[in-house]
């Protein structure tokens, strides 16, 4: 069965600090990987995705993530966070031929101004 583990439940940073959120997955096959974000009072929305090709993917608002196949990881990074990045972040995985996605439990990021 597939599973996703997000190591940090709550991260608190000051503005301009660098961010890295961990995501590890377990899945017996080729995967598609996603990071979704939920800003306060808003819907879940896509931040970035990896299907194939360059393992370093760039998303919206300066976020990027690196797929390391050997480590089953897809960590999210941002060099300098802003107060507006305060949100909950979810890592998700699905198989190449499977529709459903498996989500991690999320990481709440609080950025102090």
């Amino acid at each position: 069965a597939q599973s996703v583990s997000q190591h940090n439940h709550h991260v608190i940073l000051s503005e301009a600090a660098s961010l890295e959120l961990g995501c590890n997955y377990s899945y017996g096959g080729t995967v598609n990987l996603f990071w979704y974000v939920q800003y306060p009072g808003q819907h879940l929305q896509l931040l970035l995705k990896y299907f194939s090709g360059d393992p370093l993917v760039k998303g919206i608002k300066g976020f990027e993530a690196e797929f390391i196949k050997s480590k089953f990881s897809f960590n999210l990074r941002k060099p300098s966070v802003q107060w507006s990045d305060t949100a909950e972040y979810f890592c998700a995985v699905n198989g190449h031929n499977a529709g459903k996605s498996t989500f991690g439990d999320g990481t709440t990021l609080t950025v102090k101004p």
């Binding site: 996603f34 699905n94 459903k100 498996t102 989500f103």
Partner: protein, 113 residues
Amino acid sequence: GAGVSQSPRYKVAKRGQDVALRCDPISGHVSLFWYQQALGQGPEFLTYFQNEAQLDKSGLPSDRFFAERPEGSVSTLKIQRTQQEDSAVYLCASSPRPIYEQYFGPGTRLTVT
């Protein structure tokens, strides 16, 4: 364009009542997913439709849960004889193709008293 909409946004049901939750996906999206999100956790897969066909219902927790999408657009998730453990946010998502990123609705928060 219009996103995924869900109704009602909030539902309070007495234990034992039946409820019906509606999802209007983005027009033209082939795939539709239902997830259940408990407090402090990530979305958990319930079921998946491709057009009107329910291809995966492995996540439905019991036979009290039933979903349909009769014309391949609007979907309804029905929960019979609600129990307190059914209290959660029910998320609907749609996607233009099965393995693509998913577009989420605002969710229906169900509280069973």
